[in-house]
Symmetry: C2
DNA sequence: CGGGAGCTTGAGGGAAGTCAACCGGGGTGG
DNA sequence: CCACCCCGGTTGACTTCCCTCAAGCTCCCG
């Protein structure tokens, strides 16, 4: 995590080529917060028509940036992070497909107090704030869903604050995994097995721990039969005990 | 902090008597985020016309409450806090006069995922969400100032998350005090000496530490000549070194 | 084959937690 | 009125969780 991509991409026509893929992840996400009709979905598709691939490790939004365009994360993972001059780093949020980044839903232009970085290779669409605002005055259901998503992101922030303040390393780790399992849930319930593209270093930055200790905690959780993180795949073997350890309640993730 | 007031009030006509005091703290706070004209101030005064005193330690908003009225904090301090079943508690935010609590600026009705408690005796005004919304459609400057205040509160949340995740106990404490000094600033700059009505127990809950350790850290900061907390008065003797220790930058508190 | 990134494990240290005792002040009840 | 008692603050002794430093591993890639 030096800021430079650590793994070179396989050859593509261009690093940041246009793609015509749809706005599906966005529709799936926002649809959780209220039904979207065909016009809403169409508007979303138009807003995200031109999307771009960006390599892992790249900065999507630098700290200090003024907010003038919204970034719709369509594929891949990203994170908000705050870097210290002395090298310390805190990951403030983990962003997954369907997240709207740098959304200024309060119409208060502020400079970014943190940066946003691509964790994996990501596909994003850049939407001028004005374009989005114009669409939202016509599409109330969409506007409402977006506000609900923002409210949930704020609730996640509070949950993380509590997590860092009160829980032990083991509990923190379990809590983070429970949250991600819930956020990546489909109709069949929370994901018990999913791709987790975070290095132990990144987990450390998210949990306020050192990479070494993250490793030990993961080993302990594996030895205890709770879960396993192998080759970027997280498997929660014992969801009940994992939830209990984390004292996890998913209510804050609902609108 | 058992949930019951620990200090009984001196006799008053009634515990929750009406008061006709004005909306000055609210005007002062929101005025920082944009000029308010006489009509705006008047509207605020009308919204907060009937205010109530509530004893310290009382719960203003219980966890799980649906948001139907905004609570304007006019005098005294309060805090947002999250309680665990096993007795652990995390203070998520410290609220000072001028704060709007349970403001639903995104118009997304959600159940409260934490509680709000009076730290000191507080004077509050309860404003039905609908009344506030009605006023804001007519008063754009006011609406904007309130959105800006909400954006700053969210930035404070991020700053606290980083504080808990990355800083040592000493740094955390210094950071919190720098933030409060800045938030309580007047024209002459950050407050170097102000009433801090938080017990060491509450500081511990805010900083993710134990009360015993808070005491030791305070002693150390005092011995080192940085600051002093005596009888509920915080005096920052050496603002420069305190800021340096905390690596404090107040940019996030500005709109 | 060499080098770097990420993962793993061990040994030792330090920051913060735990347990316990004591003090002082204010409220309360005998 | 005085004696408690409780709460908050203070300090010491000891423990523990997590960090630091360091080495060695695998895998991928040049």
């Amino acid at each position: 995590m030096t800021g430079r991509p650590t793994i070179l991409e396989p050859a593509r026509g261009a690093d940041e080529a246009f793609s015509d893929s749809g706005a599906d992840p966005l529709i799936a996400r926002l649809g959780q917060f209220g039904d979207l009709d065909a016009r809403d979905r169409d508007a979303l598709a138009r807003l995200t028509a031109g999307s771009t691939w960006i390599r892992d490790g790249r900065s999507l939004i630098p700290e200090g940036q003024a907010i003038d365009v919204v970034c719709a994360l369509l594929e891949g993972w990203a994170c908000r992070c705050k870097d210290f001059r002395d090298g310390r780093r805190q990951i403030i949020a983990i962003l997954t497909p369907g997240d709207l980044i740098a959304l200024d839903d309060r119409a208060i232009p502020r400079k970014f107090d943190h940066s946003v970085r691509a964790v994996t290779r990501v596909r994003v669409a850049w939407i001028p704030q004005a374009d989005l605002r114009d669409v939202l005055v016509e599409h109330h259901g969409l506007a409402r869903a977006i506000r609900a998503a923002a409210a949930v992101e704020e609730a996640i922030l509070r949950a993380w604050l509590v997590n860092l303040g009160q829980r032990s390393a083991h509990e923190r780790m379990a809590f983070l995994f429970c949250e991600l399992a819930e956020r990546l849930a489909d109709e069949s319930g929370p994901a018990a097995r999913f791709a987790l593209p975070l290095t132990q270093q990144m987990l450390a930055h998210a949990l306020g721990l050192t990479p070494v200790h993250v490793n030990r905690v993961l080993r302990r959780l594996r030895d205890d039969g709770l879960l396993e993180l192998q080759d970027g795949i997280l498997t929660i073997h014992d969801p009940i005990r994992t939830r209990t350890l984390a004292d996890f309640n998913e209510a804050y993730l609902r609108a």
